[in-house]
């Protein structure tokens, strides 16, 4: 890669990262808050207690603000596919397009129809119908996420397709395999359930602010109780799905797992790093120690990845050199090929594509069949044709390692957080004045939940570098032939647009929170809309 192209790829990657990360500031709150407001309304439906209706309406308002401001921010990623990543976009069109189209239709029908009933329908439709609309809005939001995550999972683990050298596109052969890929299923549950954690922390944090200000205590304490129980269930499920994610990553993207752990030389009985500071001098081809300081748990990574203390976990250098026995996601054993072997195979695949096209232009069907066979045989390594140096296959270890460990540590923190919140505020007649410090902890934990959530995405996306499609297409083959300046311009444009939207979101949410007067709302006409 020449310097100019590297700069172009970096700016385009930066732009995609910026868009995805800003988009992800809105989405998890929408997903988390939607379930909590649905639970609150269910309690109202069951008990008929008007307080729960007012609690539901309060959280529904904040959901509405966040939903409205965040909506469509992800579409910008689709603009970028067509402009910045046109090779990629053409290469995957059919497969990537189908889930995104379903997402668009589903989001439109479920969310827009039922959210209208949810916002406009209080006292106009029956309680049961309203509750159904609220839950369907919640389900619609999660299903929208499902299709996006299926598309993303396919990039991490491309299955269910066949490459057509004639059209230079991957064509979907098995929709079920794409939708029910273990990576997609796991990614969906891990992402959506971790968003419930963020939603719960947000509800607790805002409620704690009310307690600090000595306002709306009834709303705050009831909300904390619901969010603590829900958050505790969510964090336990997040830990469970996170554990199965690691197991899948070990088989599908072993280089990502090695980077997550800062692991260069793998071993049997491989320890897992609980905390650590990476040695910045460490490179794959020197003998420096990977850590300046670390606390490790013996056998931990072998157990996490393969459920066996004695299992071998490959490190970065093992993956470069290959030659050890590994296992596919289907449990089949194979010998890990070296990077050099993969690069050779990738070049065979790409040369076969060139040969196929040449034979086609000459009308030589025998040669076309011959080259197609070579291409198919070597296609799983197609992307390695673009690798010049094995170092290009290593993701930025420091970013991936710290993002992963930040996510895990904050996950552990939130497990404790929900337990403490539930123990203190879940009791009958709790005394918030006595635990003012805890209310401050609750409030200050809101940004930590966002850091945890974003760290998860950084681990997943930076960890799969250099691939846009795992092993099949690297970023530097996916990029369009654009000027770096044009990508820089749109980068700054998006930064401004998203920052304005984020400020608007935070400002309106804070205004709504400050405005809330729970006692006064009891005497107000419930026909009042949003």
């Amino acid at each position: 890669m020449d310097e100019l192209t590297t700069t172009l790829v970096d700016w385009a990657r930066g732009q995609s990262a910026l868009t995805a990360m800003y988009h992800w500031l809105f989405v998890p709150l929408t997903l988390g808050l939607s379930v909590i407001m649905s639970i609150c309304e269910t309690i109202y439906f069951k008990t008929g207690n008007d307080e729960w209706k007012r609690i539901t309406k309060f959280w529904m308002t904040l959901f509405g603000v966040n939903f409205a401001i965040g909506i469509a921010t992800g579409i910008i990623l689709e603009f970028q596919f067509g402009t910045n990543w046109s090779n990629y976009s053409w290469f995957v069109g059919d497969i990537f397009g189908a889930p995104l189209a379903i997402e668009g239709i589903m989001a439109f029908f479920l969310e827009s129809i039922f959210s209208a009933v949810m916002f406009f329908g209080w006292n106009k439709v029956s309680k049961g119908f309203h509750l159904t609309a609220t839950w369907l809005t919640t389900i619609g939001a999660s299903l929208s996420a499902l299709w996006i995550l299926i598309a993303n999972a396919w990039m991490q683990y491309p299955v269910g397709m066949k490459f057509n050298p004639d059209t230079v596109r991957n064509e979907m052969m098995n929709f079920g395999e794409v939708v029910f890929s273990p990576v997609a299923i796991d990614k969906f549950f891990h992402t959506v359930i971790s968003s419930w954690v963020l939603g719960s922390v947000f509800v607790i944090g805002v409620s704690c602010w009310f307690l600090i200000k000595n306002r709306n205590s009834a709303l705050a304490l009831k909300s904390i109780k619901v969010a603590s129980i829900f958050g505790l269930i969510a964090i336990l499920l997040t830990l469970y799905t996170g554990d199965s994610s690691a197991k899948i990553v070990a088989k599908v993207q072993p280089m990502k797992l090695a980077a997550m752990e800062g692991l260069y030389e793998g071993n049997t009985h491989q320890a897992i790093t609980a905390f650590g500071i990476l040695n910045p001098e460490k490179k794959y081809n020197n003998d420096d120690d990977p850590f300046l300081w670390a606390i490790q748990i013996p056998d931990g990574l072998s157990i996490l990845a393969y459920r066996k203390a004695g299992a071998f976990v490959g490190g970065i250098n093992d993956l470069i050199e290959g030659g050890y026995e590994a296992e596919t996601i289907k449990g089949e054993k194979y010998i890990m090929p070296s990077m050099e072997e993969r690069m050779k195979s990738g070049k065979l695949a790409l040369n076969a594509l060139a040969g196929f096209r040449q034979a086609k232009s000459e009308g030589n069907s025998d040669d076309m069949a011959k080259y197609q066979e070579i291409l198919e045989e070597n296609y799983p390594n197609f992307g390695y044709a673009y690798i010049n140096d094995v170092s290009q296959t290593i993701p930025p270890v420091d970013i991936v390692f710290y993002a992963f460990h930040t996510m895990v540590l904050l996950g552990a923190y939130f497990l404790l957080f929900f337990i403490v919140m539930l123990c203190v505020y879940g009791r009958k007649n709790p005394n918030p004045h006595r635990y003012r410090w805890l209310s401050w902890v609750g409030l200050c934990s809101i940004p930590l939940a966002y850091i945890m959530s974003e760290s998860g995405w950084v681990t997943a996306e930076v960890g799969r570098q250099p691939w846009t499609i795992q092993d099949v297409l690297p970023t530097f083959a996916s990029i369009s032939k654009l000027s770096t300046g044009s990508v820089q311009t749109t980068f700054w444009l998006f930064l401004i647009l998203f920052t304005v939207l984020l400020i608007a979101d935070i400002w309106i949410i804070i205004r709504q929170i400050k405005k809330e007067d729970f006692d006064k709302s009891a005497t107000q006409d419930h026909n009042e809309s949003y």
Binding site: M1, D2, T5, T61, G64, V65, A68, I69, I71, A72, I75, I76, F79, Q80, G82, T83, N84, S86, N87, S89, W90, F91, A116, F119, F120, G121, K124, D166, T167, V168, R169, K347, L350, L353, A354, R357, A385, Y386, N388, F476, A477, S480, K481, L482, S486, T489, T490, L493, L497, L501, A504, I508, Q512, N527, E528, S529, Y530
Partner: protein, 79 residues
């Protein structure tokens, strides 16, 4: 005489009309949504994010040709 039943579509129309009319914070949010969509689709999409392959050619055959050449040449530049 029994009360005449309002047709379903009119009921739906009134439901939405009344809902939009009685909005409070919703008005601000709709304004933000519309401004945002305008900026995204009428400015950013049109002026900054053209369909790159469409700027090269219109037919799918030519697009395949273009991307195929790109992928093969990208490899040559890269080596």
């Amino acid at each position: 005489m029994g009360k005449e039943k309002t047709p379903f579509l009119i009921t739906v129309f009134r439901f939405y009309r009344d809902g939009f009319r009685s909005m409070t914070i919703g008005r601000t949010l709709w304004a933000i949504i519309l401004i945002k969509l305008f900026i995204m689709f009428a400015i950013i999409r049109v002026f900054f994010f053209p369909d790159f392959l469409k700027t090269k050619t219109d037919s799918d055959q030519d697009k395949s040709e273009y991307v195929g050449n790109e992928l093969i040449q990208r490899n040559n530049t890269n080596n």
